[in-house]
Amino acid sequence: MQAPALRRREPLVERPSDAAALADELRRRHAKRITGELLLPAQPARHAPFPPVLDARLKSVLERRGIHAFYSHQRQVWDLVAAGRHTVVATPTASGKTLCYNLPVLQAALGSRAKALYLFPTKALAQDQVAEILEFNRIGELGVRACTFDGDTPGDARRAVRTHGDVVVSNPDMLHQGILPHHTKWAQFFESLAFVVIDEIHTYRGVFGSHVANVIRRLRRVCRFYGSDPVFVLCSATIANPGELASALLGEDAAVVSESGAPQGEKHLLLWNPPVIDPDLGLRASARSQSMRIARTALKRGLKTIVFANTRLMVEVLTKYLKDVFDSDPREPARVAAYRGGYLPGERRGTERSLREGSLDCVVATNALELGVDIGALDVCILNGYPGTIAGTWQRLGRAGRRDRPALGVLVASSEPLDQYIVRNPEFFLGASPEHARIDPDQLLILMDHVRCAAFELPFVAGERFGGENLEEMLAYLADQGIVHREGSRWHWIADSYPAATVSLRSVAEGNFVVIDTTGGAKEVIAEVDYGAAPMTLHEGAIHLIQARPYQVEKLDWVGRKAFVTRTRADYYTEAIDYTKLKILDEFERERGPGGACARGEVHLVRRVAGYKKIRYYSHENVGYGEVRLPDQEMHTSALWWQVSPERLARAFASRWEALDGFLGAAHALHQIAALLTMCERADLGRAVGDGNATWSGVVGADGRGSARSFEGEPVDLDRPGGEFVPTVFLYDNTPGGIGLTAPLYALRHEVAERTRALVAGCDCANGCPACVGPILASEAARGSPKRAALGVLRLLA
């Protein structure tokens, strides 16, 4: 152990030590809370010599920075790129990924004035990158011009960037809307474009990734027009399938470099479940209290610590509690800071700098710090709640870890089912590969958007390909719509419009709602709500919570995407009552098991918010209803569903109501596990219980009990004579048209059902709790145990 370093505030650092010692102490004192652990041993550095052709100026810059050899992976990338191979680099945080692409790019810029385009998902990362190259430039007097080109670039600077930029750093949205539709202005740039670097490709998944893949198709099409064929260098954080994602984005194979040659101190990882405080209700101590305790211990030992929380609100709460302990003296510089989206860029840059320089001891952050913003290395990383994906967990944990010292990560579970599943099945988490990042660039609506954009950029020529669908048919469709005009073997853009302006990469359904506070006659925008969540949270009469402050929605302007709210002191909150009607249109595949069947196909889905309940705080009693009139949400998408044969159902359950409880509870848990096993944010998948013919849908009441409703909201009597009863659990792709989640889900159907059954069976609660089948407030006597019923259903499905 090193001698205690001299600290600025001696008294607060009680026992300086390293992260390994902290891990030991936590193991010793809280053995029962630690459900799993992992030790990654230290890795020595593996070097490779500089390539002989490395430009002397670059070599001298590296040497002046104390670098006398490449790490093995950097050399591997160099050689692949030199051979003209598209390459994806998937090595851990802080392994020197940036040099992997900067060096070949600078070498080519110095040698043949070749140009490079860098794409980052955010403007902040783009600016970091330019700063890095400029620093290189300054030290080595290279004369390479690197500039950002984004929405903030002033008009008069744009021409200079276009004509003189050697390295242009931008983002996919700008490429899509600002560069490709004006490619003739960039002719010189495209003619000499030799490299395209795309960093943080793990963020390009789902709908966003599917759009970006199409933007890359357009980029390559424009490059072909100018006679260039750039080499792509992609970088990814931890995901299971970097090579697969890279080739899906590029439409071509990419070589994968995933073995890091950078040295790494040993890493400890603890999975932490807060102790149970009420076994009946399945209540545990809050994750927050546990995270606080661990963070305090770490800080008192002088360890640089980062705490990740899943919401902006939790970031603020944790920061306040930690500041109350460590920043009580306002005359001293702050030791603890918060970092999240919504702060001004300058403030975020300041925090990043303080972290790099080591003047801050602790930062509490949202996933805004998950990306590769340079904050230097830290000793301890505490995750307050499971981030939702295994990849996201490793990306955050990657923030702790130094080249020469041990690091500790602690995942503190909340009472959410996913969290509980993870900490109770440590072998699953520790053994699982991270999620597969999936995209579906040929999703018809997305593809159609980009066929339009591409037709605007260059006329399509017969025989050309763009995506996996039949291009001529799509063009024929556009010609019918008066968008393109066919003349001989070419399709020309003919509409007086700029298609890229109406296509947003970041989501399929566009149009966020703004929430406007009109209290006291003012008009202040206080929040934004995405389109999907608006019907449930912004209907008239809803109580909308912002930082736990209640606002009441007075008026909703659906077309104008505005909600007008006022401050209120209501002692209740509201819960929208919505009915989801699903009709099976087409069945692609089906498997019949002993108890039931699982199938996949296309469905038509209608969601209606019919009203809302007012629920009093703490007592949770229902104190009123309100009606809501909103347009129905319709969607055509793909889904997976499970059904149980009527005979087996009748044998397994005393009543249809009990079976319905079972299906609703099973759906709650299946949804969580399915999200866990596929990619994917929970909101990417939807769930519903109904009968598949859209005659009724099942809903869970405030008491945790199920009831069946017609689509008009009328109760349906399941016991009515002669009535068929085919309850069905649906999991559907929550994007119009689907983005390809259900095919992999179908392949995993047995695992999903079995793991869900194991989760519910293994839960410590009596009749159901938030961690398995959902919260239960009523007693068991009323209608049997929902948890038992759900287990009954899951046994039939598994």
Partner: protein, 397 residues
């Protein structure tokens, strides 16, 4: 995949999305174009428009307009003997190319094409207008070639909003056709800018139609509005009637001839040699000054002296001060200060402090400024400085 399934899926998607934003977007894409008829053959179009076929799908229509004629009430002959103006330095009228395009849209970017380009040159005693009309997209490369030969070379471009719209658009088209842009780097006079300078404060807008009406006295009859152009050409392309084409050509012809007429009319407005519209004299004078011709600025202001507003008078005083004609400047400032102009009071304060060396007169004016704009730092500094000077003067006295 068969044709039916893709169409079917697209139909399903757009149908089931009715009411969502994507549904609206799909619905907004436009109405069905119906069955395409065969577009008219080139020779029919050429005959109808009185032009000739220059290449496949390119019709050239040429017209001669005598310089002895009028456009509105502007004699076109004025182009050949322009008076000195601040926005045009050395020039040779024989190099002027008056250019205007009609396009498939206003969106800009690579998806917009010019289907009609009108370009006029002065040729002897005529204005010779050539219009290049496309009967198909396929004619574009040949048309661009012809346009280069007619309008390129030793050329001084004259346009209206051409710096922002027409010329960048043509540059993109040349680039897409794989050719060099023949207009890159040529001298280019975009008349929108001097029109704006002179008339921004006088007119509701500076569209070409407004200019024709207010400055040229030219009224179009049965004009096809510019916004209807893209649709009209598309209609023709899809095999619609030829009947609309002469109106498209005429619209473009008027645009080009108006450009030619605008030069002498605007020059007259700047040099004060007549014209039917009264420009903003102060703005015009500033333009003269910026062009390094303060004498002309002074003359324009003096000519309009009776009608000058505060800005005009201040500009006039500034020019007098520049010539060290303090008497004339002070008379204007005094007059304006009397009417409450803060800037005039400040000018006088500076004059009395630094030129007339009369701190007590300056102090009175400084106090007045301080009352008009309480707390303004420059006024406070001036008051303090003058106080000090007055005290020193008393001590040394």
């Amino acid at each position: 995949m068969t044709e039916n399934t893709l169409q079917h899926r697209l139909a399903l998607l757009s149908h089931s999305l009715a009411g969502t934003s994507i549904g609206q977007r799909l619905a907004c894409l436009g109405t069905s174009a119906g069955h395409l008829r065969r577009p008219a053959a080139d020779h029919e179009v050429a005959a109808r428009l009185g032009g000739r076929i220059a290449a496949d799908h390119v019709i050239v229509i040429e017209r001669e307009i005598p310089l002895a004629s009028h456009h509105g009430h502007v004699p076109l002959a004025g182009i050949t003997q322009l008076p000195e103006v601040p926005w045009l330095k050395r020039h040779d009228p024989r190099h002027f190319v008056f250019i205007d395009t009609e396009t498939t849209g206003l969106a800009g970017g690579t998806g917009t094409m010019a289907f009609l380009v009108g370009a006029a040159r002065i040729d002897g005693r005529h204005l010779r207008v050539r219009q290049y009309f496309l009967t198909a997209f396929a004619g574009e490369p040949a048309a661009l070639d012809h346009i280069e030969r007619w309008a390129g070379g030793e050329t001084h471009l004259v346009s209206y909003n051409g710096k922002r719209f027409d010329l960048p658009l043509l540059a993109a088209r040349y680039r897409l056709a794989g050719s060099r842009d023949p207009f890159a780097g040529l001298p280019h006079l975009d008349l929108l800018h001097p029109v704006r300078t002179a008339f921004r404060t006088r007119w509701p807008d500076c569209r070409l139609a407004t200019v024709e009406h207010r400055l040229l006295g030219f009224a179009r009859t049965n004009d096809l509005p510019g916004a209807a152009m893209p649709g009209a050409w598309l209609e023709f392309l899809r095999g619609g009637h030829l009947g609309i084409l002469p109106a498209i050509l005429e619209h473009n012809l008027h645009d080009v001839v108006s450009l030619a007429a605008l030069m002498p009319a605007l020059a007259a407005a700047y040099s004060g040699t007549g014209g039917i519209a009264e420009p903003d004299a102060a703005a015009v004078a500033r333009a003269w000054s910026r062009a390094g011709m303060p004498k002309r600025a002074l003359r324009r202001l003096n000519e309009a002296r009776e009608r000058l507003d505060e800005a005009g008078l201040l500009e006039l005083a500034r020019l007098h001060r520049r010539d060290a004609d303090w008497g004339a400047a002070v008379r204007i400032w005094d007059d304006l200060a009397h009417r409450g102009s803060i800037e005039a009071i400040e000018r006088l304060a500076i004059y009395h402090e630094h030129v007339a060396k009369d701190p007590s007169a300056a102090a009175v004016l400084a106090e007045r400024l301080g009352r008009r704009e309480p707390g303004a730092a420059p006024h406070l500094r001036r008051i303090e400085r003058l106080d000090r000077k007055l005290r020193q003067a008393r001590i040394s006295a």
